[in-house]
Symmetry: C2
Subunit: 295 residues, 2 copies
């Protein structure tokens, strides 16, 4: 079965293979849900533990029920078996019910897993870097939602609508006060004085799983990391800039705001480190699956 | 056929009677859509012209396609015939497609009409007023989304989760800077020196249809209206406070922040005025329907 980047061949909703959801679901009515997007490679959902931990932490912050982990993992495996090379999106919503904005308590929750085709970015991008731009639309500040990968994504939709030039791979977004926060679909890191700087995500933004991997790798490599309020001018003064998400991995930025950047040493170092972690995760999950199969 | 406040007996998606939507719809994936909620009475969708005009204006701001108006009106009539007393929700999403946040251009759009039971608020509320509270969660500022009734409503969901005391009918929300903006499900007006004050909705908030009716009625009655940044302390100093939306009409606030308010003269005056407009709209739409039927 093949999947395309646009559609999805397989969707599982609450364990059932169907792509149709009751419109009363609060995920549609209010964007009342969270999600995570991960890369499936050789039939293995990469860094699944981290994705599920993040999903669970996000759901807890919004008081959205988190399903039985064994059941969720089994559904991930069903998708990964059918689509050994895909992008897997897992959504958890608060489900159906309530009176208007008032949610039922407890709520039942809905879980939706869908397989999508891997985007066909040229491999060379990881070496040569990408062109990025600054977006005009700003991110509103709300500490209650900051860091969460939730379903209210209109700001990202409007930001991504600002350009259609395919050479520009990502747009960087500032918050209401003008500080750099993230890319439309990625997190952002600056390399300065051989250390990393990355925007504080305490007032808006999404704390991505790949961002977490970069932070852990930086620690392992002995690189200092500063979480800060960063102005766009400061970003342009960095030695390197790179973008992260679970599907793209790490992308060096080669051109931003008219300024050229080297596809730098630190991004390469971290890429190698995380490629190693991914390979070990892949082998360890494969070994686990083989053990389960022979039980 | 009966409808309950929680479920919906009739749903029409793109003209077809079904309550199930493709999960690939951007309405679910990103909250990429707009909606309006209106009251159906004696088989007539009250103030339908205003609701469709608002929906169209909101859709235009987000570049979401607006369907053929005759077709949409016909679908509204189908619902209103089957459910002569209901709350009708009309949602327009950007539909299926695109690559991630990047929307297809042009997009096809999805329209969803659903009938819901009228909430069973006691009638006396319109006279005696309601108890309200201030919510802790703030509204993020984003001029690009301000005023639009869009599907990104997590702030409202979190605000409404702050209380379960049924005596408290509404929560008032402040913006990131501490200015009063609106109720969770309503707009808010203060009466001061025999004029009206209502929060500016240029940085966040939803510009409701009933709010528009109140503004027009105030003009007709010769009441001055000031659109302003209002602090909660100022609100507590008002002579009257009232809340508006298309389902509740006008609710005087009788208790807020420990302070009692009279269910005042101006709210009563505006209620009478808008009841009159509703009655005329009802008669005029009924006459139109009778004309169409005998053609």
């Amino acid at each position: 079965m093949t999947v395309t980047a646009e559609g999805s061949a397989t969707v599982i909703i609450n364990g059932e293979t169907t792509r149709f959801l009751d419109i009363a679901d609060r995920g549609l009515q209010y964007g009342d849900g969270v999600f995570t997007t991960l890369s499936v490679q050789e039939g293995v959902a990469l860094f699944l533990d981290r994705h599920l931990a993040r999903l669970q932490a996000d759901a807890r912050r919004l008081d959205i029920p988190f399903p039985c982990q064994a059941m969720l993992t089994e559904e991930v495996l069903r998708i990964a078996c059918t689509h050994p090379e895909c992008v897997l999106k897992i959504m958890l919503t608060r489900g159906v019910g309530g009176r208007g904005y008032l949610a039922p308590k407890p709520s039942k929750g809905t879980r939706i897993l869908s397989a999508h085709g891997k985007p066909d970015f040229p491999k060379s991008i990881r070496e040569s870097g990408v062109q990025a731009r600054f977006c005009k639309i700003r991110l509103g500040l709300n500490a209650s939602l900051a860091g969460i990968k939730h379903l209210n994504r209109l700001e990202q939709v409007l930001a991504r609508a600002e350009w259609r030039d395919e050479n520009i791979r990502e747009g960087l977004m500032l918050d209401h006060e003008g500080f750099l926060v993230e890319g439309v679909m990625s997190n952002v890191f600056l390399v300065q004085d051989a250390g990393l700087r990355t925007p504080l995500l305490d007032r808006c933004g999404v704390a991505g799983v790949m961002r977490g991997l970069v932070l852990d790798s930086a620690r392992d490599l002995g690189l200092a990391v500063e979480h800060a309020r960063i102005l766009p001018e400061e970003a342009l003064g960095a030695d390197e800039i790179f973008l992260t998400n679970s599907v793209i991995g790490i992308w060096p930025v080669s051109l931003l705001g008219g300024k050229k950047f080297p596809a730098g040493r630190v991004a390469r170092l971290l890429t190698r480190q995380i490629d190693g972690m991914a390979a070990r995760d892949l082998q360890s999950q494969k070994a686990g699956l083989a053990r389960d199969a022979t039980k």
